[in-house]
Amino acid sequence: METTTKISNRLTELFQKKSNNLLNIYFTAGYPAINDTVTVLKALEKAGVDMVEIGMPYSDPVADGPIIQQSSLDSINNGMTIKTLLGQLKDIRKEVTIPILVMGYFNTVMQYGVEKFMQEISAIGIDGVILPDLPLDEYTEHYQTLCESHNISNVSLITPNTSDERLHVIDNITQGFIYMVSTNSTTGNDAKKTEDNHDAYFSRIKNMGLKSPRMIGFNIKNKETFEDACAYANGAIIGSAFVRMLSTSKNIEADIIQFVQRIKN
């Protein structure tokens, strides 16, 4: 079960070329408006982010806090579905070269058909999936071979409470990166970061000698928290803070460039 077939895609290639200060931005598909998906994606590439994570909305996103919940709801109300999203991304590889991951809850993928989904995202040129409520055992038992045969990286999450034993299992099957959830929290929970002392966790993982790259996400929201995370991992993921910016933006493209510049420079 823990044997993996080595895959190669834009994501695995990226980590071979660059190993620090990688910026991954999450945004919800079809948000703020249904046709903004590609606009946001192109602006992010232009702004210099290293990879993106596109959220496929679900009505009941239990791992998410209020900001991503609201963007998901708006996106669903805008008419976003997996089918629509894959239609929007059909020719994306003619325009965008950075690695693209799609993130979503298992039910929507299950209804679409997991096999059909992997086949189609692979054909489009999507590099990875993050399905937070698809547990590790279900993945290795039912979907690992499928993902690997389509060159899709399945990104697993770890948390401050993940045991060392489980970390090694995850490290062994990971192709792409390990998603380090920064603290015991849903996404975009401002109250959390300040109260939890994350150093012990970040250092423990850093010193474990894992072979997979690691990206830290959840409650990374500005230059300071980004740089702090990058000191312990290959990069960091910003979600809620970016979505919050989009929710009030009058000029998406310009604001995206500015948002990213503020993080990176």
């Binding site: 806090g65 929507t108 279900e138 999450l157 959830v181």
Partner: protein, 398 residues
């Protein structure tokens, strides 16, 4: 056919533990410990003592004479409405809080729909001196006011769930989020046979006392522990799971689950999951789920807050798929009328949820030799406001 959970946490193709990694250690810790704890002598002694002396068990199996005459059969009511706090929910919360204590947890959270599970959890917490946070949909807070006040009086904090349909589904999301944010000290007492494995099995075992008592009571009354029919309403399915549990492998006993059809199964305002649902994943398990073609969960509707849920527990999805249980439904109006009928025939005001089970007597046909057990899961005090305000609408003859 095995109707109980298998080693991997599945009932046939339903169940599992579809939870984000943040909850994995918690759920795994529970999975490793729940059977050990439930089967331990210390747990059994304390649990049985509390069920007897605090909850008021065994509850009567009451031969409803006038109801039997009306339907030309033998109707027995399993009086879960006489439990302390007014519903079967407390069988589960007392059990889970004893498990939580043995696992060293110090803070309790719960979701609630009708408020019965919230009250039962707040009660158990008061009894054990533990802090209690109950997540409840803002809509349900409005329609089940007395229970909100009861929870507060018992010392619980009630947090309104403002997302989605603002009912039970959303309260459950919020409770899961609370657990993600507080994974170390907190124990989540789920109120039905839903959620990730081992919850459905754990809750079913804690409610199984219902069918255990039915068997011994029937043995005493009729000389035969088996009824011909057991009828129960299904929200998530905990009272039904408890009433069915010891009969699952007794094929002579027909198991009947009654879902809430709201304004009509196909009206768009319904919670009849087996009629409207497809296999999907919600709240940690693969089960039958009301959803759109794209996999977005559909907002259910029922007059009864406790049945207003877009899924059913994985055990029931399996009982449905295998045909072991028969699934029928009752509309808001049918349940409402059944509640008044029961009040006037037997002097018992049922909870709106339980009234759905009573309504099945009207729909089904029985032989006069049949022994029909209706699980009266709760009493109607909490629903008086609804009974008062919607009486005109539902009781006019036509």
């Amino acid at each position: 056919m095995n109707y109980n959970v298998d080693k991997k946490g599945y009932y046939g193709s339903f169940g599992g533990a579809f939870i984000p990694e943040m909850l994995y250690p918690n759920v795994e810790e529970l999975r490793e410990n729940y059977l050990k704890i439930i089967n331990s002598e210390s747990f059994q002694t304390e649990y049985k003592d509390l069920l007897r002396n605090y909850v008021g068990r065994p509850t009567p199996l009451y031969f409803a004479k006038r109801l039997s005459e009306k339907y030309n059969t033998n109707v027995y009511l399993k009086r879960e409405d006489l439990c302390h706090t007014g519903a079967h929910k407390i069988n589960n919360t007392i059990g889970q809080i004893l498990i939580a204590k043995r696992m060293g947890k110090t803070r309790i959270i719960a979701e609630t729909g009708a408020g019965q599970h919230g009250v039962a959890t707040a009660t158990a917490c008061a009894l054990m001196g533990m802090p209690c946070v109950v997540h409840m949909g803002a809509v349900d807070i409005e329609r089940q006011k007395p229970n909100v006040e009861r929870m507060k009086m018992l010392g619980a904090e009630v947090i309104p769930a403002m997302t989605g349909s603002k009912t039970l589904k959303d309260a459950t999301n919020e409770a899961l989020r609370d657990w993600i944010n507080n994974p170390v000290d907190t124990f989540y007492i789920i109120g039905s046979v839903v959620g990730p494995h081992p919850y459905p099995d754990m809750v079913a075992r804690l409610q199984a006392v219902i069918s255990e008592e039915i068997m011994s009571e029937l043995q005493t009354i009729t000389g035969n522990p088996e009824p011909t029919h057991v009828i129960a309403c299904v929200g998530g399915g905990s009272n039904a799971a408890g009433a069915f549990y010891h009969f699952l492998d007794r094929k002579n006993v027909e198991l009947i689950a009654v879902e809430a059809a709201g304004e009509g199964i196909y009206s768009g305002y319904s919670a009849a999951t087996t009629f409207l649902g497809k296999p999907g994943v919600l709240h940690g398990s693969k089960t039958l789920l009301m959803q759109t073609e794209d996999g977005q969960v559909v907002e259910p509707h029922s007059i009864s807050a406790g049945l207003d849920y877009p899924g059913i527990g994985p055990m029931h999805a399996h009982l449905f798929e295998t045909g072991r249980a028969k699934f029928i439904s009752a509309t808001d109006k049918e349940a409402f009328q059944a509640a008044f009928m029961l009040a006037r025939t037997e002097g018992i005001i049922p909870a709106l949820e339980s009234a759905h089970a009573v309504a099945a007597l009207e729909t089904l046909t029985f032989k006069n030799s049949d022994v029909v057990v209706v699980n009266l899961s709760g009493r109607g005090d909490k629903d008086m406001m609804t009974y008062i305000t919607r009486k005109e609408e539902f009781l006019t003859k036509n």
